[in-house]
Symmetry: C2
Subunit: 350 residues, 2 copies
């Protein structure tokens, strides 16, 4: 239609790759000054100009709200109560605001170039789920903040850092669970927590310790166990807990999946209803009221966390990003305890 | 950096909007020939050229696999077993192939301009979930097919049309449920189906009718009920079924949610274990084995449906789309029956 030089010709004349031509003309660094000059000179000579059309593409919004999620091969992420509830909340708000949801799966321990998502115009704003305490992750988040892109973390905070975050009060959530068990007369209360790389695990630990301390009960490392939030790891914990079962009256578990795995694992190891410790799960997932005995659990408003994070991050976007004098997003929602048969003095009988 | 005319100047000189300038230069119709000529002349006069950079943007892949889903305000879509399993399968395969997942929520009965998703470069390929028998929808799908974009439907087919589709055999699935109930000696078998706008509902009806017919049992319209797949609609069906309960020995239900709602609804209406009809659900969701009595259910390989649809549609993409001589995607996976306590002759005792 209109004769023009190609990017390839510019690249050849400048003696660089086509990617470098794009990087120069999109002003996406880092690049040596000399390379820049050479590319610009070649583009001029050939009459190759990144049109304002191209530049308008560069500025154009994608209409996508990004959600970064951990990816585990074979795991059914959307089927986990935790993620499905948060995503339902995010999706609902995004839809109301006219945004589509771009799900970005990240391999475990693969730090993501969050800024690249913005640079490539894949997203206008992004929400990060399942971030962990890890050097590469922290670096990527700092860059995201520094570049002024609209972002928000859900359910994770970093000591000494100030990131946009929406979280539930897991210190209080775990306190509620322990206090309830204490009120039932249990004092030997074990704790099956999640990995310490998650701040929500550390928060739960803090709540557990505080609640015991208030009653003058010393912490006992032999009563603390760790799983990875899977049902399987709850079953594995049953093996570790069994030898100590005569000392353990109750167990607080960091999510319902592990709690159900623990119930199941203990039953399979021959622990009958009379010897079953009282159990309080965490999340109050759909499954909690369907198991036998029905599982007491700490209810976390995941849907609302998702909804609020989406609303806040899209507000940031409308206001021109974090660096326009906006306040930091800092939301902490309360958790509450739902008591069912599994944690009552009468034991495992519904 | 490089002085160029702006799109705005071109628009002013040509006496058209900036959007029209873009449409002409991106060759996105429909536009009058005269308008095109005027815009091109103005662009030439001002030395405004859509660079090959811009054109490469136009051709560039987004790296996104689109998933179109129905949107219901307040509903927790990701929490529904049906969607979460399909999405987990799609997401897993997309991730393996290096694609991100763009979730596009569509209001019920709002036909979507699927082709626009491609035109705007939001997606490179797309999978449509929850499509219904509806004129606007059919039109949009026909256009998608005609334009040669890579797409695939899951769990929906249209009589007399030839779209790419991945489905499970719901005729056989429902037959299995009815035959199992017949084998238990039940002959008065009611059917609580989903809306007829979904082909999977019509397929189930066909399976129900066939299985009865093979035993010489005439169909009885008074035994057929319809819900909308929600737990609530299952509870509502309990009200409709109650007055006929002395004639009804068993109920086949089109998904587990409604089946659980029906169990619950009947119990709340005072139907005790002895009078509870045998029930077979459909989907074999997580909840099926957790309810009391545990629910017999037709297992549908949703995760695999998602995985296969993603694999097939990305294959289409690599092969240059539907119009490059590819065969139609036509996959039908078998369903199977999982028998639990709810459908056995002994009644509702686990």
């Amino acid at each position: 239609m209109i004769a023009i030089a190609s990017r390839k010709e510019v690249a050849e004349l400048a003696g660089v790759s086509e990617a470098t031509v794009s990087r120069v003309l999109n002003n996406v660094g880092p690049l040596k000054e000399k390379t820049k000059e050479r590319v610009i000179a070649a583009a001029r000579e050939l009459g190759y100009t990144p049109s304002s059309l191209a530049r308008s593409f560069a500025r154009k919004r994608s209409g996508n709200l990004g959600v970064v999620m951990p990816y585990l091969p074979k795991a059914r992420l959307f089927s986990a109560y935790y993620f499905s509830e948060i995503l339902s909340g995010i999706g609902s708000r995004a839809r109301e605001e006219g945004y589509d949801l771009l799900m970005i799966f990240r391999e475990a321990d693969e730090p993501l170039d969050y800024c690249g998502l913005f640079r490539m115009r894949k997203v206008d704003a992004c929400i990060v789920l399942g971030a962990k305490e890890e050097a590469g992750e922290l670096e990527a988040l700092r860059q995201l903040k520094k570049d002024g892109h609209p972002y928000c973390l859900i359910n994770q905070h970093y000591e000494g850092e100030s990131f946009h975050e929406v979280d539930a009060d897991h210190v209080e959530g775990c306190q509620l669970a322990v206090k309830h068990l204490l009120s039932q007369g249990f004092t030997r209360i074990a704790f099956l927590n999640g990995p310490q790389a998650y701040s929500n695990s550390r928060d739960r630990l803090e709540g557990y310790m505080q609640a015991l301390q208030e009653e003058g009960i010393p912490a006992d490392a032999s009563l603390m166990f760790e799983g990875n939030f899977s049902r399987r790891s709850g079953m594995a914990a049953a093996q570790a807990i069994l030898p100590q079962l005569e000392h353990i009256e109750a167990v607080v578990v960091a999510n319902d999946r592990m709690a159900i795995g623990l119930q199941q694992g203990l039953r399979e190891l021959g622990v009958n209803t009379d010897r079953m410790p009282a159990i309080v799960g965490y999340d109050d997932s759909d499954a909690a009221e369907l198991t036998t005995p029905a599982l007491s659990s700490v209810r976390v408003p995941f849907y609302q966390l998702g909804e609020i994070a989406a609303a806040k991050v899209l507000e940031l976007l409308e206001n021109g990003g974090v660096n326009s004098g906006n306040e930091m997003i800092r939301v902490k929602l309360p958790a509450k305890l739902v008591v069912r048969a599994s944690s009552l003095r009468t034991g495992g009988i519904q």
